[in-house]
Symmetry: C2
Subunit: 211 residues, 2 copies
DNA sequence: TAAATACTGTAACAGTGTTAACTTAGTTTA
DNA sequence: TAAACTAAGTTAACACTGTTACAGTATTTA
């Protein structure tokens, strides 16, 4: 049975309304990302977001469960970009040690380029890495598994000293995270200095991995 | 001229009042440190401190300039303990590479033992490292200079590869900071795992420093 | 004794996240 | 077509936060 004219009108109307809702949701997200980048985690508030887009604060609660949900959605966008950049860097190098260095550099590059995203994703709300709802446990960091895999591969090939691949992966992660975290927390450590530190720590760790 | 009886009484009274004032100040500090350790940076509030010691919130402002001043004073106590532990570890080893490892271990040990202090001093309010008043610049981390000095010493002796000592020092700092920061931000990474990661990253960096 | 000083409390302001209750518009159903 | 329902928005309010202005009270000083 073909749809009647009434049905078509109603379908179109419903679709239009749904679109409007998505538009508002997207406006909230855009404003949130912009304001977050401007004011950082501490200075971010829902009322500012509402004001920015010309709605009352409570409207946000019709599109998100609350502040955490909104922030998590913003962070998820960051995790997506993050993963893309890391995978691209990984694909650019085939030899294990070179690949580890490339991933490490991409990691730091992301942190220095999007410091507020990094602050949200890995410092203030590192719990978001494990997902929003407490039981979720859907890992948002599959990109970091590449590190452990690459290290294991290097061990199998004999170019990386024997050991626990996961522990070495955590060590590498901690090293690059430390560089970015210090740069974000201490304005004294500017980008050039952070990059020099990153190069040094990557060189040292990778050299150490050789044995 | 000997003090009259009146003068002696007044002097005693003044001293007693001064003592009482210091007592209140100390009570504020103790309560602040305890509540901070319990609730962390985000959940810490002046009104809780006031309630804890049975004073109104405004009283705190007669003993400290505000929340920042109070937090900084708490942090300063942390910096003091931190410096003591690091110096002790440094004195326990004479050979440069062994000393670097000992300092690194002591650094992580401090972070894992006093996570809320660490959170305040190096994560949430890393600006306190440079002092409270903006122009101050009195470095609160002379203990970290030991690292650069030790590395320079190792280079002079030829047991550490040539390079910029300060950059290598920052790299080592970033590595241990990263371990502690991840442990504090991610409850998933428990103490044992953090210690294993710290051992690994120190081993790798120190091996890398050999050349 | 009178004036000055120091410490404390109450009340208030501006801001936060969040919830309840209400309006208004559009959709669905009887 | 009329009634019921749903969705998105509003305003008002609650319980917090850091901070400041002002008043009171006790003690010290002149």
């Amino acid at each position: 049975m073909n749809p009647t004219r009434d049905e078509r009108v109603r379908a179109g109307s419903r679709q239009r309304r749904e679109q409007q809702k998505q538009d508002v949701r997207q406006a909230i997200l855009d404003a949130a990302a912009a304001l977050f980048a401007e004011h950082g985690y501490q200075g971010f508030s829902l009322r500012q977001v509402a004001e920015q887009i010309g709605y009352s604060a409570t409207t946000i609660y019709h599109h998100f469960e609350g502040k955490d949900d909104l922030l998590f959605t913003v962070a998820d966008e960051g995790f997506s970009r993050f993963g893309t950049q890391l995978v691209a860097a990984s694909d650019g190098a085939s030899e294990p040690l070179a690949r580890l260095k490339a991933i490490g550099r991409a990691y730091v590059e992301f942190g220095l380029s999007y410091p507020t995203y990094y602050e949200l994703m890995f410092i203030e709300r590192a719990d978001f890495m494990l997902g929003y709802r407490v039981g979720e446990r859907k890992p948002r960091l599959g990109s970091l598994d590449i590190v452990a895999q690459t290290i294991q591969e290097g061990m199998d090939r004999g170019v990386i000293r024997p050991g626990v691949a996961a522990t070495y992966a955590n060590a590498l992660w901690a090293a690059v995270h430390g560089v970015v975290a210090m740069h974000i927390a201490l304005p004294v450590i500017d980008r050039a200095q952070a990059e020099a530190t990153a190069d040094a720590v990557l060189e040292l760790v990778v050299t150490g991995l050789k044995g």
